[in-house]
């Protein structure tokens, strides 16, 4: 049954927009699919190769700006961004990885954080090119959400399949070896620098593609949105960790959960407090609702803390542990 689960899920996802006409839910699912792509990329470099990136927004933003600038500066369709966004993100990743992977330890994590900030500053300061804080606005191609949905779905499927294929090949074994023990990996003839670069570039490519999609779909970007540390880089880490570190379908689960959580906070527990305030007319609840709407970063922060403590390897990775916790009876039965 487990073997067919991905296909069942895919069938449901293909049928979804035909069944559910509500554009709000379609919107949410497009975001989920986009995060599947980003999460798969993060999982490649961090989950499988063990080089934790704190700066995925650098690649995401580069991809988004590639699409945006192609539209605003060259006057071409922003969809060309989908053809180039992945590659411009790789162009950022390449020199970055080249420098950082020479050093071991916390350098890569820190440098990726720095890269994130540098990209945001450049996008903010270089107003002639990027319009700075004003951002880039393009006309959406489609009125309906359905075309975007299927493009996002195609991209998500592509990235999951890609991860699947890579991890079943020599590259995959090499990535895992690097994660487990770099010295051992080198002694087995693995050029760790070279393969870390490959992994990083795959991650950057996927993340850049997701960025281009974001530009096309949302129609508006500015540096604070696409180079956001919290909303992109940390979210990418959460998607990767919550779902399952170093598992193919982890990012899929993670994307569903995290988009739901994000929306949960953004809407104030799906309007629960607002509704309650309306019903009771309580001033206090109105204030609470307002705060909760603003507090999604707090929610994320708490989530980071809790997830790392309780589920460091994610829902898929720690599945057996969860089952054991949730079904104590079964456990006892085995013991006696």
């Amino acid at each position: 049954m487990k073997k067919y689960a991905p296909f069942v899920l895919l069938a449901i996802l293909i049928a979804f927009p035909l069944v559910v006409q509500n554009s709000y839910y379609q919107h949410l699912l497009i975001l989920v699919l986009m995060w599947v792509v980003i999460g798969s990329g993060w999982n490649m470099i961090a989950g499988y190769t063990g080089q934790v990136s704190f700066g995925d927004a650098a690649f995401f933003g580069t991809g988004a700006y590639t699409a945006g600038l192609i539209a605003s500066k060259l006057g071409l369709s922003a969809w060309w961004g989908m053809a180039f966004g992945g590659f411009t993100a790789m162009a950022v990743a390449f020199p970055f990885g080249w420098i950082c992977f020479r050093l071991r330890g916390a350098y890569f994590a820190l440098a990726s954080l720095a890269l994130n900030e540098i990209c945001r500053h450049i996008a903010t300061i270089w107003e002639d090119l990027t319009e700075g804080m004003a951002g880039i606005l393009i006309m959406p191609t489609f009125l309906s959400k359905i075309p975007y949905y299927y493009i996002a779905l195609a991209l998500a499927v592509l990235s999951v399949v890609m991860v699947q294929i890579v991890m079943n090949s020599k590259w995959g074994y090499y990535f895992l070896s690097i994660r487990e023990d770099q010295d051992a990996a080198e002694s087995l003839g693995i050029d760790t620098h070279h393969y870390k670069m490959i992994s990083l570039n795959i991650a950057a490519f996927l993340t850049g593609m997701a960025g281009s999609l974001f530009m096309n779909y949302m129609g508006f970007i500015d540096p604070e949105v696409v180079f956001s540390l919290h909303d992109i880089s940390i979210m990418a880490i959460l998607v990767g960790i919550v779902g399952g570190v170093g598992t193919v379908y982890g990012p899929v689960v993670g994307a569903f959960v995290m988009v739901a959580v994000h929306e949960f906070f953004r809407t104030g527990f799906f309007g629960f407090f607002k509704g309650l305030a309306g019903l009771t007319g309580s001033e206090f609840l109105i204030v609470v609702a307002k705060y909760i709407g603003q507090a999604h970063v707090l929610g994320f922060g708490i989530l980071v803390v809790v997830v790392i403590l309780v589920l460091p390897n994610g829902i898929v990775g720690d599945w057996n542990k969860i089952i054991r916790k949730l079904v104590p009876m079964k456990n006892k039965g085995v013991a006696t």
Partner: protein, 291 residues
């Protein structure tokens, strides 16, 4: 020349405070081998503590040191004890999950501050906030000069503490070789807790000293965390002496950058230094001084 001297003075004074920030970070780095990405956020909390003391109790910011430092010491100890130490027992694939944890803690601290104090800019206006004196043509901000000397004082106290007291020696031993220290009977859990507390107290001092001449809002932590890790990288991960050099270097670089390149690049300069260090001096100043 005048501008140059003025910039030099500003840079060194600022560098003194940065050294304080960097020293706390370096101690934590040395003992726990992790980069504390909540460092600036801890500083932000300290600043709000001092601000609250000033605003509600009328306590002078310098007296606020005596509230903020113990408070942050406690907060640091609690963070280490209840969030970072338990991670040592958690089986995880990712090596950086302690670092990630500090990011999460930083986010939580920032948002809690936003809940309580809103996003508005706050400042502490004292009689000496704007005061300056002159030596020749160069002006000195009174508050920054006081801050600089207190920073130097704390640095000296830290050195005395690390070299002359039992706990200090245990901290250094743990930083050099955790397993060996453990065998010598050092309670490494307790040492990590004390170290994180001390690191937090030091950054609390920096925040409090900065408050009279700076402004305050919840997101101020992020930029200072970045400064802290640039200083730590510059100094060579885990080196206390390196952190002092790193702090002064960053202070000078920022001052000269702001004067000669432009204010907009203020935040960029640290990051550019970071890249230059990675490129040309991996290992930081520690490699040059061997301390």
């Amino acid at each position: 020349m005048e501008v140059f001297l003025q910039t030099l003075v500003a840079g060194i004074l600022k560098g003194g405070l940065y050294s304080l920030i960097g020293m706390g970070m370096s101690m934590i780095m040395g003992v726990m081998k992790i980069i504390n990405l909540a460092h600036g956020q801890l500083m932000m909390v300290a600043m709000y503590v001092t601000f609250a003391c000033f605003h509600f109790l009328g306590l002078d910011p310098y007296l606020g040191l005596f509230v903020a430092m113990p408070a942050l010491f406690l907060l640091g100890c609690l963070i280490q004890k209840y969030t970072l130490n338990p991670l040592m027992e958690v089986e995880s694939i990712l090596p950086e999950n302690q670092v990630l944890m500090t990011v999460g803690i930083g986010m939580v601290l920032t948002e809690i501050a936003r809940f309580i104090f809103t996003s508005d800019y706050k400042s502490v206006q004292t009689s000496y906030s704007g005061a300056t004196f002159f030596i020749g043509e160069t002006s000195f901000s009174v508050a920054l000069v006081i801050a600089f000397f207190i920073a130097v004082l704390f640095t000296l106290i830290m050195f005395w503490f690390l070299t002359k007291t039992d706990i200090g020696r245990s901290i250094r031993a743990t930083a050099q070789d955790k397993d060996a220290a453990l065998l010598m009977g050092v309670d490494s859990k307790r040492i990590t807790i004390i170290t994180f507390g001390l690191g937090s107290a030091l950054v609390a001092a920096a925040g409090t000293l900065l408050l009279p001449v700076y402004y305050l809002f919840p997101d101020i932590g992020g930029p200072f965390t970045r400064k802290a890790f640039v200083i730590t990288i510059l100094g060579g991960l885990g080196s206390t002496v390196g952190a002092i050099f790193g702090g002064i270097t960053l202070g000078l670089a920022e001052a000269f950058g702001a004067t000669y390149i432009g204010m907009a690049f203020d935040d960029m300069i640290g990051l550019i230094i970071f890249i230059l260090v990675l490129l040309f001096l991996p290992g930081g100043f520690k490699r040059l001084t061997k301390i």
